[in-house]
């Protein structure tokens, strides 16, 4: 095994982590805090990609600005969605499933009707570097850096701000949090907005490297679900990071040595195995350990 091959493997690993993280984080935060499975997640990603592509081509704005606009736009859309749709289902979460499914149908088919079957994608700066016989895309590495940065920021907000404390309180026991004066409605609104904004950002970031079609969200959704299952909803941030890292660790060498089909099947089987042994996902497992430790401390 040459050094070049190792470097290539490492690059693939980073690339895979970035994809899983960015695809799943928004979905996972919403699931963890609001406890709603957002079936329109893929369409929010699609919206992000469309906003970036359209502002770039029609308003001729610089690409980073387009991406920022996507993030903000989809985040606002997510807050509207929460305010006028999701909020009605907090007593009965199953309705939210169908409602978000309805939203996803409206968004994807509406996009098809308004913008046609496809858009021209945005260009990608040709940053490449090579090592040995392999060459790598700089933009993909940038995606990895951004994904890690987002996780760090989310972690900081979650653990080192008042907002984070309130959010965690809402997650653990919404009634108690309300009794202590936390406005859980605002927390839900904000969380849904942030989750959506992350979906929008994902769409924007991947817009230069994917095909811009109304159903493009689907390519993110299945891996996002798998990452969520493995990560568990107990702690969305730790869950997303560990789950993306673990799944990539299994899928990357398999794809690289045995082919994409094996990588794909390996990813899915890994999810099954993890769930069998860690029924609440990796983050649930960590939480259990912590509670056990806390319980020991008390007694």
């Amino acid at each position: 095994m040459s050094l070049g091959y190792l470097v290539s493997l490492l690059y693939q690993y980073a690339d895979s982590i970035a994809f899983l993280l960015l695809a799943a984080l928004g979905l996972m935060i919403i699931l963890g805090v609001v406890n709603v499975i957002n079936l329109a997640h893929g369409e929010l990603i699609m919206m992000g990609a469309y906003i970036t592509t359209l502002t770039y081509h029609r308003a001729h704005l610089p690409l980073p600005l387009c991406m920022a606009l996507s993030t903000i736009g989809v985040g606002l859309f997510g807050m509207l969605l929460e305010r006028f749709v999701i909020r009605r289902f907090y007593d009965d979460k199953l309705g939210a499933l169908v409602a978000t499914w309805g939203v996803s149908l409206i968004l994807s088919q509406g996009t098809l009707l308004v913008f046609g079957p496809s858009l021209e994608s945005v260009p990608l700066a040709a940053w490449t570097f090579s090592y040995g016989r392999y060459s790598f895309g700089g933009y993909r590495l940038l995606l990895f850096v951004i994904a890690i940065a987002i996780v760090l920021i989310a972690w900081w907000v979650f653990y080192h701000t008042r907002l984070g404390v309130r959010t965690r309180a809402t997650m653990q026991n919404a009634d108690m949090a309300r009794a202590l004066g936390v406005n859980t409605r605002d927390i839900y609104l904000l969380t849904f907005g942030v989750g959506s904004a992350l979906a929008g950002l994902t769409g924007a970031l991947y817009a230069p490297t994917t095909t811009i079609v109304p159903l493009m969200g689907n390519q993110f959704v299945d891996v996002a679900f798998i990452t969520v299952v493995v990560g568990g909803g107990a702690n969305p941030i730790v869950g997303a990071l560990t789950s993306a890292a673990l799944l990539s660790l299994i899928a990357t060498p398999l794809s690289s040595t045995l082919g994409t089909f094996s990588g794909r099947i390996g990813l899915l089987i890994a999810a099954l195995v993890v769930i069998r042994f860690l029924p609440r996902g990796i983050s649930g497992y960590f939480q259990d350990i912590r509670y056990r430790r806390m319980a020991r401390g008390v007694s």
Binding site: L31, V98, I106, L113, F261
Partner: protein
């Protein structure tokens, strides 16, 4: 605990389901007779199309039992549907010349779905996996199957004389045949087969949920630990309900391939996986009747929209679903029925049936 010496029709009329009392049963009989009489007025196509809507009812009802009554959501019903379809295709294709081969195939197909469900159920229910994990896990399972089946093109993927067919699907699957009558997709026989499967499933499940067993199942839904404390083998019962739901999905799968003579891996994809959940939620998962009605109605609506709405079909469907859920978050049929029942507190059936 309930008295066990109820007559079967009293059980059938029990409190675990909407629609009780004389008025309901009169309407029900009337509707059933209407369905049985439909072939005398409907065209062959109308029958075939209506049978196509109804053949999904067992799958929907199975999910209603699993989700509404035992509290376990599943995104995997379409996988059990497709497994049964494939197994039916394999067995019946290999037993083409044998009399009764298709019946054997149907039994084998449903058994296969049930067996896979039992194995899966063993893992998750004894592992006490809970919450949102089971539905998502089932979704992952169906995606594995889809990915795997999609690449089974070619001669090396052959069971006996039947090609699995890869993404293009398994073709020329024989229709169900009893004696010399073939239940092809566009035949009156098939219509009656589907309608009776639908009605029998409904009445059978109604009996089940109102039986002592059914009350325990809802007990598990409401509080797992309490039911366990009362001495019931909760895990085993959950597996049993899961297997029944999978077998019903399998029944729908067999009816589907008998109707269309074809199945392909996209029946296990993301979209088909969500459909039964949508039907169940829209009608209201806490009632079998609601799910039956919403399954048929939504299938009909999707079909009419495809014909008349063209590319607007998905848009209209999305808006309808969204609006329905906004105004009837517990399911449209259930909400309306409750509303109606509340306005008539003097209803006779309420008095007659003491709450358990």
């Amino acid at each position: 605990m309930e008295r066990e010496d109820k007559r079967w029709w009293q059980v059938l009329n029990g409190p675990q389901e909407l629609g009780r009392g004389r008025v309901f049963w009169c309407l029900f009989t009337f509707a059933a007779l209407g369905l049985l009489a439909y072939p005398f007025v409907g065209s062959v196509f109308a029958l075939s199309n209506f049978a196509n809507f109804c053949l999904y009812v067992p799958m929907g009802l199975g999910l209603a039992l699993l989700w509404g009554y035992s509290g376990v959501l599943s995104f995997g019903q379409s996988a059990f549907f497709a497994i049964a379809g494939y197994v039916y295709g394999i067995i019946s294709g290999n037993l083409l010349d044998m009399p009764g081969g298709t019946l054997l195939a149907a039994a084998g197909a449903i058994a296969a779905s049930a067996a896979i469900a039992a194995a899966f159920g063993y893992f998750v229910f004894y592992g006490q996996v809970s919450g949102w994990i089971i539905p998502l896990l089932l979704l992952v399972l169906s995606l594995i199957l889809e990915t795997f089946m999609a690449q089974t093109a070619g001669y090396q993927w052959r069971v006996g004389s039947v090609l699995l067919g890869g993404y293009n699907g398994m073709t020329n699957i024989p229709s169900l045949q009893i004696g010399s009558s073939i239940f092809g997709g566009a035949s009156i026989g098939f219509y009656y087969l589907v309608v009776s499967a639908m009605l029998i499933t409904y009445l059978g499940l109604r009996l089940l949920v109102n039986s002592h067993y059914g009350h325990v199942v809802t007990g598990i839904r409401d509080d797992v630990e309490r039911t366990r404390m009362l001495g019931y083998n909760v895990n085993l019962m959950q597996i049993q309900v899961f297997v029944v739901a999978a077998a019903l999905a399998g029944l729908s799968g067999v009816l589907y391939v008998s109707w269309g003579n074809y199945i392909n891996p996209s029946s296990m994809g993301l979209l088909p996986a969500t459909l039964p959940v949508i039907w169940t939620a829209v009608g209201g998962r806490s009632s079998l009747l609601a799910v039956l009605l919403s399954t048929v109605t939504l299938r009909w609506l999707a079909d009419s929209l495809a014909v008349k709405g063209g590319e607007y079909a998905f848009l209209i469907m999305g808006i309808l679903l969204l609006v329905t859920m906004l105004f009837f978050p517990a399911g449209i049929v259930v909400t309306l029925a409750r509303h109606w029942l509340q306005r008539k507190p003097e209803r006779r059936d309420l008095k007659k049936n003491r709450a358990p």
